[in-house]
């Protein structure tokens, strides 16, 4: 039970925190305005020179491997609905750590998405 709780924590918290680090890294690089392949490659190359990018990759990898671990010890019908919480945690993280202004409408949408993802996962596992 403790292992499952720890794995669940790793999926939700470092998993979404890693994506937030990536978001922060890309915001520091600046808005992409040139969509030609070599220009995009240059932007990604610049992002890869920032610490936030690699912290993000490491945390996302932790979340991914925790998901694989969780799938080996818990039922899929539990794991995927439970990960729907990541949408709410990610939105809260965007507000608290990235300074995004999350209004009522966006929160309402996120809650509906969470319920929808839970139903999709339950529908798949029937």
């Amino acid at each position: 039970m403790l292992t499952q709780a720890f794995l669940y924590f790793l999926i939700v918290v470092p998993g979404t925190a890693g994506e937030m680090c990536m978001s922060h890294a890309m915001k520091r690089i600046g808005e992409v305005t040139d969509f030609r392949p070599h220009a995009i490659a240059r932007v990604i190359g610049r992002a890869m020179k920032t610490g936030w990018f690699w912290i993000g990759i490491t945390m996302m990898a932790s979340g991914f491997f925790a998901l694989l671990g969780m799938l080996s010890v818990a039922k899929v019908s539990f794991v995927f609905p439970a990960t729907a919480l990541s949408y709410a945690v990610g939105t809260l993280g965007g507000k608290l750590f990235l300074g995004e202004r999350v209004g009522r409408q966006r929160w309402f949408g996120v809650v509906i998405v969470c319920i929808g993802v839970i139903l999709v996962a339950l529908g798949k596992s029937q």
Partner: protein, 137 residues
């Protein structure tokens, strides 16, 4: 400065790329891994053959290419759009996966799953009607 409608348009365009290529990438990877068979064990020679088969599979490389395309689109969209906008909006991939399952793989998609997909679409529509960028640059 990008206009509001221009910002919405390019954000939605990249999210469409993300949700189109990610499920396809997963499908190709899954199909490729099934083609090469189960993981044989930890003996070096067996592992070498397993990874050799995996990395010489065109199906697996197609999957990797599609998932790399997803990652690049994800990073590019995050260069201007809020994470709290992109994250829920990208859940529209559940619709793409359900459509692939029903019409390409000819699987039975249960009503509960369709109901979930409809809820996700409603949620994405709600989030999609907020401004994609709320922070200063």
């Amino acid at each position: 400065m990008t206009s509001s409608s221009g910002l919405h348009l390019k954000t939605i365009a990249l999210i469409v790329v993300m949700v189109s290529v990610a499920p396809l990438g997963d499908t190709f990877l899954g199909k490729g891994m099934k083609q090469i068979g189960a993981f044989p064990g930890w003996k070096p020679a067996e592992m070498f053959h397993f990874f050799y088969r995996a990395f010489t599979s065109a199906t697996i490389w197609t999957g990797i290419g599609l998932l790399l395309t997803f990652l690049v689109a994800y990073l590019v969209v995050l260069s201007w759009a809020d994470y709290s906008y992109v994250l829920p909006a990208s859940s529209i991939s559940t619709l793409v996966v359900a459509l692939l399952a029903r019409f390409v793989l000819h699987e039975t998609v249960r009503p509960l799953r369709w109901a979930g997909v409809a809820m996700v679409c409603l949620g994405v529509f709600t989030v999609g009607n907020t401004h994609p960028r709320t922070t200063e640059h």
